[in-house]
Point group: C2
DNA sequence: TGCGTTTTGTTATATTATAAAATAACAATA
DNA sequence: TATTGTTATTTTATAATATAACAAAACGCA
């Protein structure tokens, strides 16, 4: 079924919001296929690309999965904490990292457009 | 030909050091196959896993590629600047980010074991 | 209705990564 | 010096992730 891109994006975001763990693109696809059996991978990837470009979702580069943005969409530096035990992800605002990150970039005259900060470890409940 | 793991790791590191851009696992494999045609992907991945565990190489999660470590191997937080124009990567020491990163983790009682910091943008020579 | 645009599905394929099975090396033992 | 057990490594096969290319369908609007 054909939809407006914006609607498709909202659909994908709803799926992400309906789960408490990050989802891979194919997990999203499987979920959506329950209602729309013909849905294909490129449609999901297209929506995910738009969502991450807009900052409405984040891609966890180190585990190839996606979470909805739970913070301020304009946060310059999202910090994503990934629990290696239970797989949950918590998002934090890393705006305060920006000064030092900028200083590092300035040192090498690097013109930054995107910051990726991911932290692996164990969340509170998995730390006994 | 079968080799000691440590030797294999040195071989892979040499290949990385012989290039001035990050290499994917398969680029490394192709290069090594010139001398050892039977070499298979898992052999390269095993060596890369060991190298990154030891801090002798870094994986660029956002572009799925590897660089040799050019900094202090003990740097707690390597910061990898990736030029989206020419593809070069510069490594910097992000130890000074650690205080703020730790503060963020502490807020959520998260026990961090690994920090990933990557910066996308344009390097000096690509910024006209 | 007809035209241009957007979105989609389809197909095909590329790329990245790992699981599982098979084998080689080597030291210890008999 | 055969044989075995152990360990590490290779090989094969396949899983998982991602994208390119293009035709067809649906929509918006004149």
């Amino acid at each position: 079924m054909r939809k407006q891109a914006a609607v498709r994006q909202s659909d994908v975001l709803s799926v992400l919001n309906g789960h408490d763990k990050p989802m891979t693109a194919y997990a999203i696809l499987d979920q959506m296929k329950l209602g729309e059996p013909d849905l294909a991978a490129p449609t999901v990837y297209r929506a995910l690309t738009a969502l991450t470009d807009q900052g409405r979702a984040h891609k966890l580069e180190s585990i190839k999965a996606f979470v909805p943005c739970r913070c301020n969409h304009n946060a310059a530096v999202p910090v994503l904490e990934i629990c290696e035990d239970c797989g949950t992800v918590e998002e934090h605002d890393g705006t305060r990292l920006l000064a030092e990150l900028s200083a590092i970039s300035a040192q090498s005259s690097f013109n930054a457009t995107r910051h990726i900060v991911e932290v692996h470890g164990r969340c509170r409940s998995c730390t006994s």
